[in-house]
Subunit: 325 residues, 2 copies
């Protein structure tokens, strides 16, 4: 059995040399980390817990487990338009699950690579955390900054605003379906969408001055649109034909299941935003520079509920149409 | 089965009315919380995970589970001399563990009362979190503030400094022993010490300008003194007769086991500090005003290791004497 302290030091802690540059006055190794926020900014903080066999398969590659747990947390910061700065990890896992210390170390190494690789790409420093014993659970606290008084929120959408999404939809659910059918190659685009989602932090920052509201798509387009509609007190009309289905999704699942994956599948971690019509072209151009599509899929309207989604095709869809906005 | 959203809204979220006063620009219900740190301060952040049957008994009262999970996290802020401000909770639990929704709600209500009650007493606002399904695990992220450039750390002890502890020692281990023997009354002082520890936040703040180093006693006096000695590169001499044993501990366990509980038991969540001799009386007086004892138990010296602890009595103790500081 390896000691918690050794595991943290070996696989989870970045070099102290980076700390000063990253606004860390004191990192791992004391009772708490000391962080130095930038003046004139608010802190955006979110907590996300990924539980084995609930949020990811028990036999998912360690690299993907580390990457994904951080990605879904960072996605919340992206939805606020925040610049990510620090994260904390609470890793619970059972060493008895592994054949020996070498197997534990191999898992931890892959896990750490997935986690740290994503940290690197988004200038996010792991500033602390703990390791405990139990069923595999990765709790991630992410901390970012937005300029004082400025952030993307769920409640800012106006009647007449355009509804748009970044990237592609349905890939998360499509990848899960493939995983369940036995596909294991992390080179498969849909599997990557499911296991290695990319938080849209740069897009969120670019949209901070352009979008009227935002949310990340974790529960599924219709569910998250529901959260946004409720917070903004608007209805919505969607254009099914405009949904940017993930490449290969229709081929893999067929048209109907692909649509359902895009509408209700979840795990896409794209941004769902509303924009005043005059901001759409500028937003699209800024995201294009990031290599990311922004696709208009509908608009906000006064009448409550969602107009334009298939009714009667799949019973599961209909209830999203009902009730107050 | 109750929905995550309902559980969070009913039991885990304080009223939004408190938010503005608490430096929360945006609380639960969006993708992330927005916090407003005070100018001229650093953030102290710590993450603590409490796992059922590892950190607390599976049949512990819900109130104690909520209280304790937060208390052990706040104890880390106390050890930094930080003023606690915000916390985030990641609650993982299995609704199938309960007979019905009413039982789930009763548990959540007790859990929430334990958690929120401690929040109230330490002016700490629950600013967000999530609820997931799995083995009972409470992940808590606490955030506090210290004046820029000023905090208690493990590495500041000097040769000649006095070693002191707040409150009493051994009560955590003593309470656990009683629990294992079947004692269940939360009125029992030792059981309270184990299940309802009080984080020494006010003491930490009072000692911020007086102590040269600090750590909280979670692993046990000798283990945590070891962390402090290593960070400060000093040795220590302890006076066994000076250890402030928890009231009732000797009666419950006998002298030898009581001493061992105080030295190695852990779970006391008192502060272990070092002070220049000239600061001791002032520190003792300030803590007396908080209703808390400060007891000198030894001093720092150049020679590595710990002098003065029983050798040969209990084999388990000896290894703390060995090796470099």
């Amino acid at each position: 059995m390896l000691a918690e302290f050794d595991l943290i030091r070996r696989y989870l802690v970045p070099s102290p040399a980076r700390h000063a540059a990253d606004g860390i006055a004191l990192g791992n190794g004391d009772d708490a980390a000391l962080l130095v926020p930038r003046a004139g900014h608010q802190l955006a903080v979110s907590v996300d817990t990924s539980v084995v066999d609930v949020h990811f398969p028990g036999d998912a590659p360690a690299f993907a487990v580390g990457h994904r747990a951080l990605a879904v947390a960072l996605s919340d910061l992206a939805a606020m338009g925040a610049t990510s700065r620090w994260c904390f990890m609470a890793l619970t896992f059972d060493q008895r699950h592994f054949a020996d210390d070498a197997a534990t170390q191999a898992w931890m190494e892959g896990f750490g690579q997935g986690f740290h690789g994503l940290c690197e790409r988004h200038a996010t420093t792991l500033a602390g955390g703990d390791v405990t014993s139990g069923a595999l659970t990765v709790g991630v606290t992410v901390m970012g900054e937005t300029p004082q008084g400025l952030s993307l929120r769920r409640g800012g959408a106006n009647v007449g605003d355009v509804i748009a999404v970044t990237g592609e939809l349905g890939g998360g659910a499509g990848g899960l379906a493939l995983w369940q059918k036995g596909e294991r190659s992390l080179e498969h685009p849909l599997l990557r969408r499911y296991l290695l989602p990319e938080p849209r932090l740069a897009a969120g920052e670019a949209l901070l001055h352009l979008a009227s509201s935002a949310i990340d798509i974790s529960d599924g387009l219709l569910a998250d649109l529901g959260h946004l509609r409720h917070a903004s007190n608007v209805g919505a009309a969607l254009d099914m034909d405009a949904l940017p289905l993930a490449s290969g999704l229709e081929e893999a699942l067929g048209r109907e299941a692909a649509l359902q994956a895009a509408l209700s599948g979840g795990d896409d971690y794209e941004l769902l935003v509303t924009l005043a019509p005059e901001n759409v072209e500028k937003a699209r151009q800024q995201l294009r520079e990031l290599g990311l599509a922004l696709t208009v899929i509908g608009h906000c309207r006064e009448e409550p509920g969602v107009h334009g989604i298939p009714v009667g095709g799949r019973a599961g869809w209909q209830h999203f149409n009902e009730g107050t906005p």
